[in-house]
Amino acid sequence: MRTSLPTQLPKEKERPNDDGNNFLIWKKHIKTLGHRPRTFIRRFEIETRKLFEEQNLSETIPQATLVPFQNVPTNLPMLVVNIVSLIWYLGRRYPRCFADPQILNLLMSYMIKARIGPSVSAIFRDCFVHIPLTEEQQRRLDQVQESKSTNFQWHWPLPKIIQLPARLPRPDKYTFVRAMEYAYLAKNAVFATEVWIRRQAWRAYIDDRIEQDFHNVLWSHLGDDDLIRYEEEVRNDFADLRDWSKFATLESERSDGASNTLYEGYVRLLYIQTLASCGLCDDALNMIRMGTGEKYDWTFSMLAKVRDYAEAFEHHELGNYIDGLRHSGIHAESQTGVNE
């Protein structure tokens, strides 16, 4: 049974996959009521907090032993109240579940889908930032964030009373993939750089574990499947690791093998595209020169979108570099095949 949302404007869906219950559609709805665009964020905050108070959730959740919701959400503010409050409730009642990043990944994914931008970066920072950065990484991060305000918190637009469980999970490959996908969707180069830096710290943390095992002569070489096992170990120190192999195989099957390398190439491509889409073509070119991080190289078709951005920003060096890849990789192979 699907509940129709009053904020939904069926003939004006922004994207075919959206349910209509996203912030862009809600803004259109609010506009039809005569509100001005500059008040939208504030208006959303007021509405959600009002609903939160009406349901008396700040009193009921701390004592609840059952999910404290009765009604099905019928609009976006109500949906957000329920979701954020549910995380609070689950964190209090079942803190063990938060040893794994799945639930918080899901929260971040929902906020991305609902186009509630301020929450996405806040969730990423408040829920997943535990791995320390090197001095150089920290300096770079401070540099890019200099002019950006980061006042929002993960529970926005709800008040501070809402808390995360004491023990938070470490991020996993999907945390970074989703965060980077959002950065590209929102064309937010600052956030993309933050995600990239945090991801590098996370990868270094995994590599550290691998190195320790090598040092202790547990392994003589790193097999293709081992990286994913170490990722699982890092992601979930407290949970049962018996199932990692099963999940790894399923994930690999569903992602055509991309999950085996923690989506390294995909995340790099998204980062490069975000940089290029924001006109940071020099940085994009530097990233391209760093390679894919996979066993294959960049090809022209992979970077076709970046080529378009280079053209739009008239960055000839980037454009020429990508043009130079025309006869590499798959193109070169297929041409050889034709010639033969």
Binding site: M1, R2, T3, T65, L66, V67, F69, V72, P73, L90, R93, Y94, R96, C97, D100, Q102, I103, T249, E253
Partner: protein
């Protein structure tokens, strides 16, 4: 050893071969680890229930259909097993439901049928069944039912079990 995937296994004859192999494997596992099968490992405990060979074959077939992402085939085999008069146990119902729980097109009608059959056999939905029903409610975006199922699990099992159950 190669994992069974839809791409390597599509023919009915191959499926039958795998079912035969799995029956032999599980039989060996039960012989070797009979004393170690406890309630802790839920997957193994499903096989601690004593099943006839026909029942065992049905369970393995359901699990295989789930692995191959073939809910239609599972529904067909459920109907066939019922027609042939195979006696169902709660474990068998749980595996049947779990195999279609993520397929909205099949779930609603099939879950109604299974619940009806369970009631006719005098079984109450157990933890595995309610969990599959919750998954199905989520897949069909039925918020009211999902809330109801979740509360049922919370009421019946509380934090010690729920922690593990929440991680699908």
């Amino acid at each position: 050893m190669r994992r069974i995937t839809p791409s390597v296994l599509s023919q009915e004859s191959q499926i039958d071969e795998v079912v035969e192999l799995m029956i032999r494997l599980f039989s060996s596992i039960r012989k070797v680890y009979r004393d170690e099968i406890t309630g802790y490992d839920r997957r193994m405990s499903n096989y601690s229930e004593s099943l006839t060979s026909a029942q065992q074959r049905v369970v393995i077939y359901f699990r295989l259909c789930r692995r191959l992402r073939s809910p239609g085939r599972l529904v067909g085999s459920y109907n066939e097993a019922k027609t042939r008069g195979v006696q169902f146990t709660p474990t068998m119902y749980a595996f049947a439901l779990a195999g279609v729980a993520t397929y909205p097109r099949f779930f609603q009608e099939f879950s109604r049928r299974v619940l009806w059959d369970m009631a006719a056999d005098g079984y109450e939905p157990d933890l595995d069944v309610v969990r599959a029903l919750l998954q199905g409610a989520a897949a069909t975006r039925d918020v009211v039912t999902a809330l109801f199922r979740f509360k049922t699990l919370e009421q019946a099992y509380g934090p010690p079990y729920m922690g593990g159950l929440l991680m699908f």
